[in-house]
Amino acid sequence: MMRGRVLIPIVVFAALLMSIGLVRIMTIAGASPRSEFLAATMSTETVPDETPQWLVEISLPDGPPRVVTDRVDSLGRAVTVSCASCHSNFDANSARRSADEPPMSFHQGLTFQHGNLSCVTCHNPDDYNALRLADGTRIEYRQVMKSCAQCHAPQARDYERGLHGGMTGFWDRTKGPQKRKSCIDCHDPHAPKFPSMTPTFKPIDRFLEPTRPGD
């Protein structure tokens, strides 16, 4: 009897939190399973007087990346291996900041331009199928945004508020879902500076025609 009375307000409070957009924050914290955010279905967890809101889908890595080898299988597909297949045999070198020097037989062509970080600042030397935070806490690859947020707090804050990273879909989430990118969709974690781009489209204005480049 007592338990029932206590539980109802908690459920309502939790539902309220979900409805006012804390869904996004929980995603970054990785507190909920990813499938919840991929399902573009109506959330039923809202307080009665509010229109249900569609969820925000964030593109996150499925798991640890696979490393491409020089072998191909019988169908001609490149053979990939997990990080741990090599790294379980090596001791971590916490001083390493580059992939250019031997004996890095893999990671060829990896450019590293991300401050003074070393590989194991983010990669977890105790389990290369995971990442780690600055305090040593193990996190999964799909929680990568939590790793970024440790140093890039203003960007993480703006992202949570919907002001960073862009989106597609619906501005009005009572009418449809939103899709958002994760940090590493736009910023290569090994060289996070946003790349230079070439403009591919120029309107041709009549008053500019005589001086347009190429005329």
């Binding site: 862009g166 619906f170 009005d172 946003f194 781009m197 489209f201 120029k202 041709i204 480049p213």
Partner: protein
């Protein structure tokens, strides 16, 4: 000069008539020719300008039946002239919504994807790459357009520059609406300034009145390959416009009034664009206004734009 000489300089085809008569006849012929030339654009319209279109009333006076007929006619025209199956709709402003747009100049890198998205979404003329957006490359330290350049083709961003995308600001106090002599342009309840392309007479007063160069004159009938025509069209937004009318950004109202984001926002690879409801305190656009350093262009003119710029 003798009489016989006079005769020889008469127009030979007219034979034995006086010079005065000849000039009269010639003048009449030229007058006819001039008149024919003057009305020739009308002759070109024959078969295109239907009686129904000629007699079409102002958008605000149209009944639901009128609209259904007009939209069907326009859809048929699109099929006939462009070979495209289009659907013209007329979504209404959502009650309790006033749109606002914000652009983050700290991350905009001038790549111009927004201009291209606008070009495709809004059925612009392919030959001129028309678009409702222009991105200006500006030297850091000024917002004066005279220092800006919209024709750059080099890689971006460039040191010492910032990039300023400009489109219609959907001003709260729009000077373009005030000057229209036929009320072909007006502001809707959600703040979007629209044009009835079938009511516009093409006088271009609005274009002159806009302090932001946001309006465009449609110099010619747009050329668009059938497969590139966007079939999702609004009467007051992205339907294919006739030549000789003024057009402008409408915040993609055929999308945004259904709750979707504008095309330029979805296309932006840098995430610089933020759109939403100014009347919703929890919206992203309101968060920008509350937490960022926001400005509008030419604030002193008092047009009160609802497209804002900010820096992180």
């Amino acid at each position: 000069m003798s009489d016989s000489d006079k005769r020889t300089i008469s127009l030979p085809v007219l034979g034995e008539v006086s010079r005065r008569t000849a000039l009269k006849a010639g003048g009449a012929t030229l007058g006819l020719a001039a008149f024919a030339a003057a009305v020739s654009p009308l002759a070109g319209l024959r078969g295109r300008l239907s009686a129904q279109e000629l007699m079409q009333r102002h958008y605000k006076e149209l009944s639901a039946d009128d609209k259904a007929r007009i939209f069907e006619r326009l859809e048929n025209e699109a099929k006939e002239r462009y070979g495209a199956d289009v659907k013209i709709k007329d979504p209404k402003a959502i009650p309790g919504v006033r749109y606002g747009y914000a652009i983050n100049l700290s991350v905009c890198n001038g790549n111009g994807a927004c201009m291209e998205a606008c070009h495709r979404e809004n059925n612009h003329d392919r030959s001129t790459n028309q678009s409702y957006i222009r991105v200006f490359e500006m030297p850091i330290g000024t917002t004066d357009f005279k220092h800006g350049d919209s024709t750059y083709t080099h890689d971006v961003p460039r040191e010492g520059k910032y990039y300023l995308p400009v489109q219609c600001f959907q001003c709260e106090n729009p000077p373009c609406v005030d000057v229209c002599p036929v009320e072909a342009t007006w502001q809707e309840d959600d703040g979007i300034v629209v044009v009835d392309y079938n009511w516009c007479i093409g006088c271009r007063y609005c274009q002159a009145a806009c302090p932001y160069h946001a309006r465009r004159f449609n110099w010619k009938e747009p050329q668009i390959p059938a497969e590139e025509v966007n079939p999702d069209q609004g009467y007051l937004s992205n339907r294919i416009r006739p030549a000789g009318v003024v057009e402008k950004c409408h915040f993609c109202l055929h999308r945004t009034r259904e709750g979707r984001q504008p095309a330029c926002l979805e296309a932006c690879p840098t995430g610089a664009r933020i759109f939403g409801n100014l009347l919703d305190p929890e919206s992203e656009i309101r968060t920008v206004l509350r937490t960022k350093r926001v400005f509008v262009l030419k604030e002193e003119l008092g047009a009160r734009p609802t497209l804002f710029y900010f820096f992180d």
